[in-house]
């Protein structure tokens, strides 16, 4: 007999003198403990610090671990195990999809709901089976049955969007009471000597728990950092040549050449017969790259790339003024309005908002226009709404339609509360390592009466970092959130009488 065997035999003999084990060796209690924690964590969630995702994910995998031990106890518990795996998988997929710009709607939630209901039914039948195996004269599991009824009632309430503490609090209390009764039922089965034969496992519990959470987290992070871009159909730019006569006419009226170069032949054709062109250009500079200029005099009017910084009082009582001069352009927005006279005097107008920049964002970007036709007294909406994204990638000029370009009602949350307005929105993403990016959106409007003022706004928003759950640049620009977003608002604002004199 080997030394180890002799040692083991001696310990086995002497163990008889030990007090009866205080330690719980029956796997039933521990498995049910995991299941009950899982039930609690997947149903009652806290909506802060991502606990609405972390706790249900932990709960889902705890249920898998609990049912894994019990899966050979009876057929219903075996189904519980299968359903708990399916639920955990669907949850993991849903959490990953949350990080992507895909509209899944409520589909994952409905699937989880149905799987959970099926799981609760199987749990009820499984507990009844366990009660029978434990020698109960009238096998029953009323707490598990109550859980099924509770969840079946909860589904339609969730569907109709039950909200408010007064409505939700009683449900929470009922749920806690049911869970408490389930704990009692589980304990009573263990206390009466009921034991289960644990099913063998291939992976330790910790490996399953951390593996599931790790894989889910990795999938979410991958989706966040690599997947938060819109799919765009990039093609080498192959435009039909623009009508030379119209082009020449527009250039003569002062239409910016670099903007005109980016328009399609169809868009240029729409501007045939233009009488006037009004333009305005705004440049945005990198706020980190500047030089300081000290002057003895105060300037009421300073160039666009200058910014007053501070003043220093001199020994003689005079002041010296420090100005920052920004040198590195980040982007340039060119606005152009084209007036096409109509016979009835109510002219047709086309507006182009053209953005040019060199360092694209890695994620989503958007341009939201506040068109002139928001002022319904003077303007009526036209039919035109077009635009595209152009860039240079791998040495080739490429173009793509926007991921979305639409006119619709947007809700903005501001300091004064939420308000809605009709806007034109364009959303896009750019390929990696693209340069010389140009984006333009074009729309038209008709005069209702003689207009004296042009007021068309362009709001650029760029998503600067990954967000979870996914929120695109447009959504971020409409929220209070200040992280992961850069905004730039600029406008074409022209007094027509003055403008005409200037033109």
């Amino acid at each position: 007999m080997s030394d180890d065997l002799r040692f083991d035999q001696m310990l086995t003999e002497d163990a008889a003198a030990l007090p009866p084990p205080g330690v719980e060796v029956n796997p039933w209690r521990e498995a049910m403990c995991l299941v009950l924690w899982g039930l609690g964590l997947t149903t009652l969630t806290l909506n802060f610090l991502y606990l609405d995702i972390i706790l249900p994910a932990v709960g889902a995998i705890l249920m898998v671990l609990g049912f894994r031990t019990l899966r050979r106890e009876n057929r219903a518990l075996q189904w519980c195990y299968r359903l708990s795996i399916a639920t955990a998988a669907v949850r993991s997929i849903a959490y990953t999809l949350n990080a992507l710009p895909w509209e899944t709607g409520y589909a994952p939630a409905y699937v989880v709901m149905l799987l959970t209901l099926a799981l609760y039914i199987c749990l009820w039948r499984g507990m009844v089976g366990v009660s029978r195996a434990a020698g109960s004269e009238k096998p029953a599991a009323p707490a598990a049955g109550a859980l099924v009824i509770f969840y079946a009632v909860l589904i339609p309430l969730a569907y109709i969007g039950l909200e408010g503490w007064l409505a939700v609090l009683p449900l929470v209390i009922i749920y806690i009471v049911i869970l408490r009764n389930l704990v009692k039922l589980s304990r009573s089965l263990a206390d009466t000597g009921y034991v289960v034969t644990a099913a063998p496992v291939r992976l330790p519990s910790r490996a399953v728990l951390w593996g599931y959470l790790g894989v889910t987290l990795a999938a979410i992070l991958l989706a966040m950092f690599l997947g938060q871009r819109y799919p765009m159909d990039w093609q080498p730019r192959a435009d039909v040549p623009q009508d030379a006569a119209i082009r020449a006419e527009l250039l003569e009226l002062g239409f910016p050449r670099d903007v005109l170069d980016d328009l399609t032949a169809d868009e240029v054709a729409q501007m045939a017969g233009a009488a006037n062109v009004y333009t305005e250009t705004d440049v945005r500079y990198d706020q980190e790259t500047y030089c300081e200029e000290i002057r003895d005099e105060w300037y009421d009017t300073i160039p666009a790339n200058w910014e007053y910084d501070h003043a220093d009082r001199q020994a003689d009582g005079s002041y010296r003024y420090a100005y920052r001069i920004y040198e590195q352009k980040v982007c340039t927005m060119t606005h152009a309005a084209v007036q096409i006279p109509a016979e009835d005097g109510m002219d047709h107008w086309l507006f182009v908002h053209h953005l040019q920049y060199h360092t694209p964002q890695r994620y989503t970007e958007s341009m939201e226009l506040y068109p002139v036709w928001q002022d319904t007294d003077f303007w009526s909406r036209g039919e035109l709404c077009s635009g595209r994204v152009l860039c240079r990638r791998q040495g080739q000029e490429s173009a793509a339609a926007f991921f979305s370009l639409q006119t619709g009602r947007m809700t903005t949350n501001s300091f004064f509360g939420a308000y809605q307005q009709d806007t034109v929105t364009a959303q896009w993403s750019l390929p990696c390592r693209s340069t010389d990016v140009r984006v333009y959106v074009m729309y038209d409007a008709y005069e209702k009466q003689q207009v004296t003022f042009l007021n068309s706004w362009a709001n650029y928003a760029g998503q600067t970092g990954p967000t979870y759950p996914f929120a695109d640049a447009l959504t971020l620009s409409h929220s209070w959130q200040t992280g992961n977003i850069c905004r730039w608002q600029t406008a074409l604002q022209k007094e027509l009488s003055e403008a005409e004199e200037t033109e």
Binding site: F7, T12, E13, R68, G193, A198, A199
Partner: protein, 178 residues
Amino acid sequence: MEDASLMKQIAGGDEAALQALLRRYGPLIRYILRPILPDQRDREECYADISLKIWQTAGNFDETKGTLKAWLTVLSRNSALNHARRRTEADAPLEENMPHEAGSAEEVLLRRERQAKLKAVIAALSPEERNLFYRKYYYCQPTAQMAAELCLTERAVEGRLYRLRQRLRAMLGGDFCE
């Protein structure tokens, strides 16, 4: 029905009470027997012996000294080990309600010393180690069963048992290592 009153009824000769007790605690008894007696026939025989023992000694049960579950655990474990010994005809049977104390007076004394030392050592173990100790040396569970119930691989259980054995050797020393 409460455990104590059930035992009183059994002591008073109520067969239905014995059936009720076996219905309630039968799975626990079988759970204890299974690893010690791998053969089903042995288990059934031992189960019958335990039923008889309960019937005969129910009057000795004192609920102030411990729970019925603990009493049945000790009874089942010792009965199973005795049954296993009888099968192998290796040693004298254990007293079923008390620790095995066969041998000369000197051996008994030495064993008592060892057992006292073991009690102290077990108390000093962590809950996980104590759990593993009881499974291995009290319930005599095979590695596969421990792995399934602890949700570990067999390899992991073997590793833990190895470390536990090393620790016990170091803590116990003396007679245990001879």
